[in-house]
């Protein structure tokens, strides 16, 4: 193959990889609906809501998500942040079809999942979603 064609093929390869990366970037921290009517069992629930984070040992964005969700639950004591390893809870992985880690479920006060955030979370996305699906007692009235 002549060098010019090779360069074109390599440029196409870089373009494809960039396209995939941009696709990933737009899908990151995507909020989705969750079909559930029964509470999640075996998880320590917060009084007003729970941030249930699915993590795995092999995960690059789990640490950042752990930090952000930890901060949010510290600022809102009625929320609990629970992190489970996918190998420890295959039942939940199957039930919710977890295909990537981290995946975060927002559970209401009775433990029923009301929202799902795929991938590494952004703080503002979690806060907006919490405001939409849960009615949290404002901190100053407690």
């Amino acid at each position: 193959m002549d060098p010019f064609t090779v360069l074109i093929v390599l440029a196409m390869l870089v373009a494809v990889a960039t396209g995939l990366g941009l696709l990933y970037r737009t899908s990151r921290s995507r909020v989705g609906r969750v079909k559930a009517d029964a509470p999640v069992e075996g998880v320590q629930l917060g009084t007003e809501g729970t941030l249930l984070q699915f993590s795995s040992t092999v995960c690059s964005a789990c640490a950042a998500t752990r930090r952000i969700l930890g901060e949010i639950s510290t600022e809102n004591p009625t929320l609990t942040h629970v992190e489970v390893n996918v190998v420890d809870r295959p039942d939940l992985v199957d039930r919710f079809g977890i295909l990537q880690t981290p995946t975060t479920l927002i559970l209401d006060s009775s433990g029923v999942p009301v929202s799902r955030i795929g991938g590494g979370v952004r703080r503002e996305v979690v806060l907006a979603e919490l405001g939409r699906v849960l009615t949290l007692t404002p901190a100053h009235t407690r």
Binding site: L10, Y24, V93, D94
Partner: protein, 166 residues
């Protein structure tokens, strides 16, 4: 191994992936120029074979000795890391180490098929590994980690097969 480093600055593996992606891109280009020589001896003696053997060795180094001991990991820690601000969090080495293993399997498969005379074997394997390394370096996306989850769901990796998340 008690001296094994289990937590690294997440920018380290991304830095390593950047160098690896660059080498893989050169490898794919070289593979396109070389093609697949008719003679087995010519296939073994061509520079593209040597480059991919070196890449496989680097992946094996990362997969078996851990990413922190990988040459690019050491280069990052000694030269790059001291010039950066401290990381906001550390990353468990299990992810990038597993990803190195995936890279090894992909490149080794390409080498075996190339030796067997399969056309475009190194081009395809090199391109796949390049895309994974590029996504890791530029977009902080770990393709190997997704694969790990698929193995978990298929029941290949079970509890105890992996260390717990803190």
């Amino acid at each position: 191994m008690s001296s094994r480093i289990t937590q690294v600055d997440p920018r380290g593996p991304r830095f390593s992936a950047g160098i690896t992606a660059f080498l893989l891109l050169i490898g794919v280009g070289l593979a396109l120029v070389t093609g697949t020589p008719q003679d087995l001896a010519d296939r073994v003696l061509s520079p593209v074979f040597g480059l991919f053997v070196a890449l496989a060795a680097l992946f094996a180094w990362g997969a078996f000795a851990g990413v922190a001991r990988h040459p690019w990991g050491v280069l990052f820690r000694r030269v790059i890391r001291p010039r950066l601000s401290p990381p906001t969090e550390l990353e468990d080495t299990a992810g990038p180490t597993f990803a190195q293993g995936v890279g090894l399997v992909v490149v080794a498969t390409g080498l075996v098929l190339y030796l067997a005379g399969v056309p475009l074997a190194l081009v395809v394997a090199g391109s796949a590994a390049f895309i994974a390394a590029f996504l890791n370096a530029v977009f902080d996306y770990c393709l190997g980690c997704q694969l790990y989850l698929v193995l978990v769901r298929a029941g290949v990796v079970r509890h105890g097969g992996a260390r717990r998340v803190a």
